[in-house]
């Protein structure tokens, strides 16, 4: 397999990690996180600073990035997740701007807008594949656990969920922390795949792309999230010429999906052996 396709596969795995977290939040819990790039940035910078300046080994540096990202999620979640209204969405959007500001202005630590060059490219295809497979397995199990069911209940009707004893604030914070950990990992892997990081890699465009992936595949389906992470990561890479119009099309796509088919491509269908079997038996009966 040529280096080019290996690269695309690694990028798919990296994006998938961030999309899984976002799908858990936006799709399954109904929390709109508009600042995912901020968490990627925190993970990427923490891991990259540790490996380039302090010679920390790759895997502990990744974990450190995840931990810092989770800590950040508590700072945003604690004041806003208790409140009704759009406080949370506004705070996440603000968070990614704060991270960008800090990264651009704390030049001694982050290299300012020039970023951090010469990061060792530790992220290999087996490593990225392994990390995203484990994350997918964990998230899929989480969704089917008591926790995951509680999250769906909160999404559907928070008041009703609370009245049957679900502590919605706690579950929201847990989901937010999981998302932050996955995003931090994704950022760390990205930094050590590309070999350099700059603030412009973690702009609002990045948050937007990740949200589009979640919505396109189907907000209530992890299969959909996987599918769109694969398609929407590889398509723009293969169709380099239409780059400028890509975001215009994304905007139209998001509105169209919300207007015509808000459940996205997959709806809540999941690729499980039982569901696949059901699909085929139904066809035979027809």
């Amino acid at each position: 397999m040529s280096q080019y396709y290996v690269g695309i596969l690694i990028l798919i795995c990296i994006n998938l990690l961030a999309v899984l977290g976002l799908s858990l939040m936006t799709g399954f819990t109904g929390l709109f996180n508009f600042g995912q790039a901020g968490f990627l940035s925190v993970g990427a910078y923490t891991a990259a600073i540790l490996t380039t300046q302090y010679e920390v080994p790759f895997i502990p540096a990744l974990f450190a990035g995840m931990i810092v990202s989770v800590i950040a999620s508590f700072f945003i979640g604690y004041p806003t997740l208790r409140l009704k209204g759009d406080y949370f969405a506004i705070a996440t959007l603000g968070f990614s701007e704060v991270v960008r500001l800090l990264v651009e202005n704390l030049e001694k630590i982050t290299g300012g807008s020039r970023g951090i060059p010469r990061i060792q490219t530790y992220t290999s295809l087996p490593f990225a594949l392994g990390a995203s497979a484990i994350a997918l397995w964990l998230v899929a199990n989480y969704v089917r656990s008591r926790h995951g069911r509680s999250c769906v209940a909160i999404r559907e009707d928070e008041l009703a969920a609370e009245s049957i004893g679900i502590d919605s604030f706690r579950y929201k914070q847990i989901v937010f922390a999981i998302n932050a950990a996955l995003a931090g990992l994704s950022g760390g892997l990205l930094a050590h795949y590309v070999g350099f990081i700059q603030p412009s890699m973690f702009s609002i465009i990045k948050s937007t792309e990740l949200i589009v992936m979640v919505i396109f595949g189907g907000m209530h389906s992890l299969t959909g999230a996987d599918f769109s992470a694969i398609v929407l990561t590889s398509l723009p890479e293969l169709l380099r010429t239409a780059q400028a119009w890509r975001l215009v099309a994304y905007g139209v796509l998001v509105v169209l999906i919300m207007v015509a088919r808000p459940e996205g491509l997959m709806g809540s269908w999941e690729l499980t052996p039982a569901n696949v079997k059901a699909l085929f038996t139904k066809k035979r009966e027809e």
Binding site: D86, I90, N105, I211, V255
Partner: protein
């Protein structure tokens, strides 16, 4: 003392621009209960309309202002028709409206980038730049003019919302859309008018901001300031949005003048987080809970 007074005037001037944008956002929020991210795109398009009216059509400033306001207002209506109404009439979750508005915002910003270009553009000098001098205090002429225009439009908007039959209908709809429609108020008409008013005030804010600074496709990020102003003042409250915007404007200019202009925005976010922690309903709002 003089520097402090000057900073207050600067702060109030930029605060009045934030207020215009925040009022548009709050109007929509108070009626439809979702954060309209597309407000960013509408104000940016309004700012571009004003810019091109001045540079390409060579019309006088007031005509350009009028074109920008009306254009942005109409864009607001179109935006609602295409992106929100189909979702609204289905009674779908509010999350869908917010996501759709995000899509509209992405579309508008990137459409302008592709068609007009990503560069920063500067408005021609529409007003003399020489500052007013009061004693040994010098006040930017532009700051005063921006403040006056913003104040007049805000007064007009206040009159529309609190002094007219239509305003009554808007306030009734924001209180309870279903009951208001039982009272003979056409909710679709009210929503259309709300989006026109929101777009128009956003467009005006965009033009004023463009005159003071520059115009570029990403200037919609300015709505983040409007969100913060609205949260500080109380989500969905119009007087709150104005108050929040003023507090935000003054905080920012003081932070820029006395601490560091690079970290100016950090103070805005810090202000928002403090308000959420100490007084979650905002300065003038109330904390709302779910009703069964």
């Amino acid at each position: 003392m003089n520097t402090i007074l000057q900073q207050v005037i600067n702060g109030v001037s930029i605060g009045s621009v934030y207020a215009l944008i925040a009022v548009g956002y709050s109007l929509v929020y108070s009626v439809l209960k979702f954060s309209n991210f597309a407000h960013a795109g509408v104000l940016m398009v309004g700012s571009y309309l004003g810019f091109f009216a001045l540079t390409l059509l060579n019309v006088p400033f007031w005509v350009a202002l009028f074109l920008a306001i009306v254009g942005a207002g109409i864009l607001g209506i179109v935006n609602e028709r295409l992106a929100y109404r189909p979702i609204r009439i289905r009674d779908a979750p509010l999350l869908y409206l917010m996501i759709s508005s995000l899509g509209a915002s992405i579309f508008l910003e990137n459409f302008i980038i592709v068609t007009i270009g990503p560069t920063f553009r500067t408005y021609p000098d529409v007003f003399p730049i020489a500052p007013f001098r009061v004693g040994d205090l010098s006040i930017g002429r532009l700051d005063i003019i921006i403040f006056v225009i913003a104040a007049i439009s805000m007064a007009l908007l206040t009159w529309i919302i609190y002094g007219t039959q239509m305003g009554n209908a808007i306030r009734a709809t924001s209180y309870n859309m279903r009951v208001a429609s039982l009272m003979g108020i056409n909710p679709d008409l009210v929503v259309a008018i709300v989006f026109f008013l929101a777009g128009a005030s956003g467009g005006l804010g965009g033009v004023l901001f463009g005159i003071k600074y520059t115009v570029w496709p990403g200037m919609g990020i300015l709505t983040l300031k409007a969100f913060i102003a609205a949260v500080v003042g109380g989500l969905g409250s119009l007087p709150g949005a104005v108050l929040g915007a003023m507090v935000l404007g003054v905080t920012e200019t003081f932070a820029a003048a006395f601490v560091s202009s690079a970290f100016r925005d950090l103070f805005s976010y810090a202000l928002m987080i403090i308000i959420i922690l100490v007084r979650p309903g905002g300065l003038m709002g109330t904390v709302t809970g779910d009703k069964a």
